[in-house]
Subunit: 204 residues, 2 copies
């Protein structure tokens, strides 16, 4: 026996969210229907609301549901520093660490030939145009520490080579609190290659 079509439809939606398998999706759909009716109605309206209210800030690409982007419109932030990330969520992580006070540029994912994500579709071309307008002294490529993130950072570096703007990446190495014994070889070799003098700051 199949579950009712309406329940399968709800499960189908959940199935498309990250780390939800088909069994979990079905469990979630059933759980949905055992929630109070008002809550489901509210959620359906919240989704509709999101569709009308949430949009990307035209300057930095952050997802916002207000007119003025809180970061772009903050006069206290250093507009000479531009951090490039690949998802609006990344901004939350960087803001949470409290070590950054510049502006952001949110790409639409990393560049990937396999997944047809190009300079144009990820927004790198728009980034280059923004930097060429001037006023930025450093672009920090926080595009992720995997193959695609590295490639994206490299391509951004090439695209911006002639602008004279400093292009940096966050340091690669051992995570805070790491035990040497359990560090993976790739991380450890990056940490050794990028070793710094004790009590030396990497900033030039």
């Amino acid at each position: 026996m199949e579950p009712p079509k309406t329940i399968l439809d709800i499960a189908d939606f959940f199935r498309r969210l990250p780390s939800v398998g088909s069994r979990s999706a079905l469990r979630m759909a059933y759980a949905c229907l055992s929630l109070p009716r008002e809550d489901l109605e509210t959620f359906s309206h919240v989704l509709q609301d999101a569709l009308t209210k949430v949009h990307r800030c035209p300057t930095c690409g952050l997802l916002i549901d207000v007119e003025k982007c809180p970061i772009c419109s903050d006069p206290k932030r250093d507009s000479g520093l531009l951090m490039v990330v690949t998802s609006p969520k990344d901004v939350l992580a960087v803001e949470a660490c409290g070590a950054y006070s510049g502006k952001y540029f949110v790409l639409d994912g990393t560049i990937s030939l396999a997944q047809h994500r190009t300079l144009e579709s990820t927004g790198v071309s728009r980034l280059v145009a923004t930097v060429k307008k001037g006023g930025i002294r450093e672009v920090i490529c926080c595009t992720g520490n995997d193959l695609e993130g590295d490639t994206t950072a490299l391509l951004i570096g090439q695209c911006l080579r002639d602008t004279g703007v400093k292009i940096t990446r966050p340091a690669s190495g051992l995570p805070s609190g790491a035990v040497l014994e359990y560090a993976d070889p790739a991380t450890l070799s990056k940490a050794i290659q990028g070793r710094v003098k004790v009590s030396e700051d990497k900033e030039e």
Copy 2:
């Protein structure tokens, strides 16, 4: 910085579904917003649809989105057998194993004093009334193999003692494919206590 309120609202909803923590909920909310706009609209409508269409079958308690319950209205099923389960999902699991051809009675969870689930609120009183109407020769209590499930089965047995109807439970023991070495002590001791003669059927 906080994520936009609309995104937090979506995450709040996901957070209430089974095995979704707050980090996953936020990741799912962001993933939601990167799905095609039409899909979100469809989902919002599907939810509204579910609210109007999905209801419990007044006879067995199964969740259905059609007028006639496919199980209650099936003349080929044995209406002398009534399997009691505690959730509409359980019916799917039993149907999938193909070993049952009777009818169902879906309770609203197990009886639990701690969670204020009583004979009345779980539907056991309604079950007793159904059985007393006659026509049922066996009630199979598939209420789960934990403390609450055991208690619920026991209480159903007590409530139906005077009806003369046979009350059974599915056999407890080693799951199919189990390796003795890894069986948990509770399962193993139940399997030993409930041991059966080789090539003997438990049915009287």
